[in-house]
């Protein structure tokens, strides 16, 4: 005999939380593999059906368990607590404090997050304006110089677009609790490999293909729009309204996030993002005249950009799993929105659609 219970759920900060909670509760109690791993009592918690309503912040669970509703809430909370959710009968946290679960904790974080994000943005733009990064590197482009150029590029204005994209995607992936390390590993591998191979191809075929300005400019604008959306999402603008998209779309996004291929392709795509340094290196690879030298130049360049980008993605993963997670997500949201706006305005100016608003 299965009975249907309705619980309150808190901590549902993202749209895909719905799927995550439903998956955790279904998986951990329904599948036979985890039954064997779990304690024997859990066998009675057989969950038949889970449905999360983000707008009402409730979760409906159909279970065959004979336990009472309070016990069930505890059992379910234990399963999802590590992901930051609390399931309760009446909105009170029985497990720890017994107090009403604070609802406005997230709102406090935003007031800390905006100044933190702004400070990072100002430091970044001051660095650009200081001219420290305009080190001239003369002579032949060798793998060593292209490695150094990669190091410089990774903290230059290119960071606004490539780094901003990496940060926003990483934070989003960590927030949605997808197996993030694997995703980042794939992204960076995809980036290194595609830079090297495309560099080699450029060297091999020489000037046969030009790097199209229009193409990379449009790609840059798309990237900055993605950054703006993800940034707003991280700050939590959308969470307030709890816009619940049809679950078909959810599943689609989730499938994309889980796909092995997606991070590889995004890594590959960064080759074409507008970045003066990348474009210069592409020209250098182009004029290098052979597959091997083009390969080495672009590989060394990508390797040079790796430390900062890897720090961004793996750093956000470790922050995301710490207790400062809400603050981190919101701060990086502010940073990403700032960089996204900057990249968008600059990209539109580059296309000649608007007058350049600023000049660093």
């Amino acid at each position: 005999m299965s009975k249907k219970y309705t619980f309150h759920v808190t901590g549902t900060h993202c749209a895909s939380c719905k799927i995550l909670i439903e998956d955790i509760l279904m998986d951990s109690t329904g599948s036979t593999s985890s039954l064997q791993a779990g304690s024997p009592q859990e066998e009675q918690n057989l969950v038949r059906k889970v449905r999360v309503d983000l707008a009402k912040e409730i979760v409906e669970i159909e279970t065959e368990s004979e336990k009472n509703i309070e016990e069930l809430a505890q059992i379910f909370t234990e399963k999802v607590r590590s992901s930051g959710y609390i399931i309760s009968v009446d909105g009170f946290d029985k497990l720890t404090t017994g107090k009403k679960i604070p609802e406005n904790k997230d709102n406090d974080a935003i007031w800390k997050a905006i100044p933190i994000g702004l400070i990072f943005l100002i430091l970044f733009f001051l660095l650009q304006k200081s001219g420290i990064l305009n080190i001239g590197i003369g002579g032949q482009t060798t793998p060593v110089t292209s490695f150094i150029i990669g190091l410089i590029a990774s903290v230059s204005s290119c960071l606004a677009i490539v780094g901003g994209l990496v940060l926003s995607l990483s934070a989003k992936v960590s927030q949605d609790n997808v197996s993030d390390n694997k995703t980042f590993f794939l992204f960076h591998t995809g980036r290194l490999v595609s830079f090297a191979v495309l560099g080699g191809v450029l060297g091999l075929i020489g000037s046969a293909i030009g790097i199209n300005f229009m193409f990379s400019a449009i790609l840059g604008i798309i990237a900055s729009i993605v950054m703006l959306i993800l940034g707003l999402n991280l700050v939590g603008v959308f969470a307030k309204n709890k816009i619940a998209l049809p679950s078909g779309i959810f599943n689609f996004f989730r499938r994309i996030e889980h796909k092995t291929l997606t991070p590889l392709i995004i890594g590959f795509g960064t080759f074409f993002l507008p970045c003066g340094f990348t474009q210069s290196m592409q020209v250098a690879a182009l004029s290098s005249g052979s597959f091997n030298s083009g390969f080495l130049i672009m590989f060394a360049f990508a390797l040079g950009t790796l430390p900062v980008l890897a720090l961004l993605s793996f750093g956000s993963a470790s922050f995301a799993h710490s207790k400062h997670a809400p603050l981190f997500f919101k701060s990086s949201g502010v940073v990403v929105i700032g960089l996204g706006l900057f990249a968008l305005l600059a990209g539109l100016a580059g296309l000649g659609i608007i007058d350049p608003l600023f000049s660093i």
């Binding site: 100044p115 001219g131 290119c158 000049s359």
Partner: protein, 127 residues
């Protein structure tokens, strides 16, 4: 954190950011003589590396004009040059001089060059 304190800090930071963006750039290069007329052709020289200098130049209208882009070890955005009004798009060589024919510019039609990502620009006024 106190909301009021935070809002004050945010406003302060926004002002600081405004200064970073719109404040005067490092010493003005405008005094540099970058326009010269040789054999009836006007040459305007602009340096590209970490931005363009001079940022604003003035030249004569009505005579054949060539723009010379000088680069020395430029790997940043300024090496990918876009001049929309004459449909010019090119990635400048890391080091070297690139000559761009501007034809005979008309008075009151300034020429604007932007780097591929749009964060650096320069302007030439013709009069």
């Amino acid at each position: 954190m106190n909301k009021t304190v935070s809002i004050i800090i945010i406003l302060g930071l926004l002002v600081a950011m405004g200064i970073v963006f719109f404040g005067k750039p490092n010493p003005d290069f405008q005094s540099v003589q970058n326009v010269e007329i040789k054999n009836g052709i006007q040459y305007i020289t602009i340096n590209a590396r970490g931005g363009y200098s001079p940022k604003v130049s003035s030249a004569k209208a009505g005579i054949p004009t060539k723009l010379i882009m000088e680069t020395s070890g430029a790997y940043d955005c300024s090496s990918s040059l876009v001049i929309k009004s004459i449909g010019y798009q090119k990635i400048l060589p890391q080091t070297g001089k690139t000559e761009i024919d501007l034809g005979i510019p008309k008075a009151g039609e300034p020429l604007q060059g932007v780097c591929g990502m749009g964060m650096y620009n320069f302007l030439i006024n013709f009069s």
